[in-house]
């Protein structure tokens, strides 16, 4: 090992001797001036190949040899004039400059090669990691590569879930060490080493090198234990790059987990919807058969006496009520289960028109007026749900307005929303009840389900609006707000 370090110096001395011999041979045949320049070639070559000191050695050796053999008086080391001294200085300067240039060239080349190797390795690792269907496999690959870096004793990637550390890949670390990793993750502070500027630096505050270092990442921690030797500059860069890649892989793992959770949530929602629709089917089918049978019996051809017909009609009315109750309960259950709103721009007048048609038999005998000007802005609502609010409020109004009483429906734009109301001229609501009317199962009647207004409140709130009851001069009024549609005037024609 040590002997090899002196080889360049040997070459320098032997080279100088050889050049001297060659000059001597040439000199015996012809007197050629300036042959000392040949030494320059030797020094240049040595400087470029072996660096500064062998070149300097060669310069000194060349100067001494030339002086001894060729400079008169031949056979002595005496220097007679400044020109010989200048020759030595030139040789030394050339040796120093070329060796310096060559050395920096060599360093650049070496580091370029090292970086190319490193990028190649990182690239291959990144591709493999990204292609691995399981993030865990990619992380193992990465940990293996990191542990192989000289100077790295142990390397692991840990995830932190609900305050608990879990090693995902790499070497095993004790529970204490994992606890330390969790603390580092939660405080967002690295322990032992820091990663910045594309490289890894040991922190001066790290007292004991035998203890692992922790680098918190966005979704986990990198745990690294360094050995006795410090990793080289290139290896430190490699380590930093691997830690960065580990951060990306952990993010990917978290994203994958979150999307799985979202899928599960969606599944549970569709399960809820399926259960509700099955319950709806089971509850409604017997009522449907009951109503079909009862209404069939009412036909004159069925041969019932007028009294029996009345009784049957009454039974059908009860079956209809039962159907409404089941419908309300299911609607409430759907709202509680968090149904998705199907929002589209709608004109308020159109919504009112459809609802009025739906409850026209209940409204029979009442005078209904609609105050909805044509230039009301469109509302961004679920047609069916808001339709239900309007029919519930209209049915409610029809029930409370006296026979032949007035019901009015209207809307106006207010504070960037549509404020709509349904009013009747029936008896006022007791002031203490104004807030309670929207409570589930609260009702003023013996026969009501107490669900209609509760459903209204939930639907309106799902649209981000509010609903309230108040007593106007003529009678009770229900006011609710609806969001305006953000529709440009442009449309397809």
């Amino acid at each position: 090992m040590i002997a090899r370090r002196f080889v360049p110096y040997g070459i320098a001395v032997v080279g100088a001797v050889a050049v001297t011999a060659a000059i001597g041979v040439v000199e015996t045949y012809a007197k050629v001036g300036g042959l000392s320049a040949v030494y320059l070639l030797l020094v240049l070559w040595l400087g470029a190949t072996y660096g500064r000191w062998p070149a300097v050695t060669a310069s000194v050796a060349a100067f001494l040899l030339y002086d001894f053999f060729f400079v008169p008086p031949v056979g002595t080391f005496s220097v007679r004039g400044p020109s010989e001294l200048l020759e030595l200085v030139v040789l030394l300067a050339v040796a120093l400059v070329t060796s310096q240039l060559a050395a920096s060239l060599r360093r650049t080349q070496a580091s370029a090669e090292a970086m190319a190797t490193q990028s190649q390795a990182l690239y291959e690792l990144a591709i493999a990691a990204l292609q691995a269907p399981e993030v865990a496999n990619a992380l193992s690959l990465l940990s293996g590569r990191a542990a192989a870096i000289p100077g790295v004793k142990r390397f692991a990637i840990a995830a932190v879930v609900d305050g608990k550390g879990e090693t995902l890949a790499g070497d095993t670390f004790s529970a204490d060490e994992l606890g330390q990793a969790v603390r580092s993750f939660e405080s967002r502070r690295p322990v032992g080493i820091s990663v910045s500027g594309g490289t890894v630096r040991a922190m001066r505050t790290h007292p004991n090198r035998a203890e692992p270092a922790y680098v918190p990442l966005d979704s986990g921690v990198a745990v690294i234990e360094l050995g006795e030797t410090t990793p080289s500059t290139d290896d430190a860069r490699m380590l930093a790059a691997l830690i960065g890649l580990a951060g990306l892989l952990l993010d990917r793992r978290r994203a994958a987990r979150e999307s799985t959770r979202a899928d599960a949530l969606e599944e549970s929602n569709s399960l809820k919807a399926a259960i509700l629709s099955s319950v709806s089917h089971e509850l409604k089918s017997p009522i449907a058969a009951l109503r079909a049978g009862l209404t069939a019996l009412v036909a004159p051809r069925a041969g019932l006496t007028p009294e029996q017909q009345d009784l049957t009609r009454d039974m059908d009315r009860q079956a209809t009520r039962l159907d409404h109750m089941v419908g309300d309960l299911l609607a409430l259950a759907r709202l509680e289960a968090g149904v998705e709103l199907h929002r589209e721009p709608h004109s308020f007048a159109d919504l009112v028109g459809a609802s009025l048609r739906q409850v026209r038999s209940e409204l029979h005998g009442h005078e209904v007026t609609v105050h909805a000007s044509e230039d009301l802005p469109a509302v961004d609502v679920d047609e069916m749900q808001v339709g239900r609010v309007l029919t519930n409020l209209l049915e409610n109004a029809a029930e409370w307005a006296p026979a032949g009483g007035a019901i009015s429906v209207g809307a106006a734009e207010r504070d960037g929303q549509l404020a709509a109301w349904v009013e009747n001229d029936g008896p006022a609501i007791a002031p203490t009840d104004l807030d309670r009317v929207f409570d589930t199962f609260w009702t003023r009647r013996m026969t009501g389900t107490g669900l209609g207004l509760a459903i209204c409140k939930r639907v309106i709130e799902a649209h981000g609006g509010t609903i309230r009851a108040e007593n106007m001069r003529r009678g009770p009024r229900f006011t609710f707000t609806l969001p305006l549609a953000q529709v440009a005037t442009a449309h397809a024609q």
Binding site: S277, S280, H281, K284, S285, I287, A288, A289, L290, R291, A292, G293, T295, A296, V298, A299, P300, R301, A302, D316, A319, T320, D323, G327, E344, P345, H346, S347, A349, D350, V352, G353, A354, S355, L356, R357, Q358, V370, A372, E374, E383, M384, G387, V409, V487, H491, A492, Q493
Partner: protein, 213 residues
């Protein structure tokens, strides 16, 4: 349910035959050629929609779909698959009889090939492509006329947004019901129809529109 309906309809002078499954319904309708088929979407065996798809090309009868699901999705799907109308359980016999009569009336009108469709005091002359309200002509844009014409051709029947979009705009417009809402609002304005109490074009919530017969 089936027995009750049969009894109810028979009391209203209809000849009724019943089928217990989709296959039976297909056989019965081919052999017996009914005027109206009542199809329960919750049939045992064959899926209700499958039966509808098989039945539609095989019969000229009006098909009224019966479902216990109050959702408008089934309604739209059935209408798009060629059903003529839709009733949601539970319903009374009178209501059902009224629906059947309306469907039969519509069928008679269509087969009469009348070129002028009337809805209250609105007249749509399909031959001369003119629209008048109380005898006064109304000027419609081509899009507005096409939409009204399609509703007139199916007067009394609920027409889904998607069917209108497909017929008036083309396949690419399907799904964007803002178009139909906007054009219907324009037509109503020109016809002097109040959207909160329409006489001519009735909104079918969650489904589409219907020209009042």
């Amino acid at each position: 349910m089936q027995r009750a309906l049969r009894a109810g309809l028979q009391y209203h002078d209809f000849d009724v035959r019943t089928a217990g499954s989709g296959q039976d319904a297909l056989r019965e309708s081919a052999a017996w050629r009914p005027d109206v088929v009542l199809l329960d979407l919750g049939l045992p065996g064959m899926d209700g929609f499958e039966t509808l798809a098989a039945l539609r090309p095989a019969t000229r009868a009006a098909i009224i779909v019966v479902s216990v699901m109050p959702g408008e999705k089934d309604k739209v799907r059935a209408l798009d698959a060629g059903a003529d109308d839709y009733v949601v359980k539970p319903f009374g016999t009178e209501e059902l009889v009224a629906r059947i009569r309306a469907v039969l009336r519509r069928q008679a009108d269509v087969s009469a090939g009348e070129p002028v469709v009337r809805s209250a005091d609105l007249e749509i002359d399909l031959g001369r492509r003119t629209v008048t309200v109380k005898g006064r002509p109304v000027r419609l844009t081509p899009t507005e006329y096409e939409l009204l014409r399609y509703l007139a051709l199916h007067a009394g029947k609920p027409v889904t947004h998607n069917t209108l979009l497909r017929q008036v705009w083309g396949e690419y417009a399907v799904g964007d019901s803002y178009n139909t809402r906007y054009v219907v609002a324009q037509i109503r304005k020109k016809l002097g129809d109040d959207p909160s109490n329409p006489r001519y074009i009735v909104t079918e919530p969650g489904v589409g529109y219907r020209l009042a017969p």
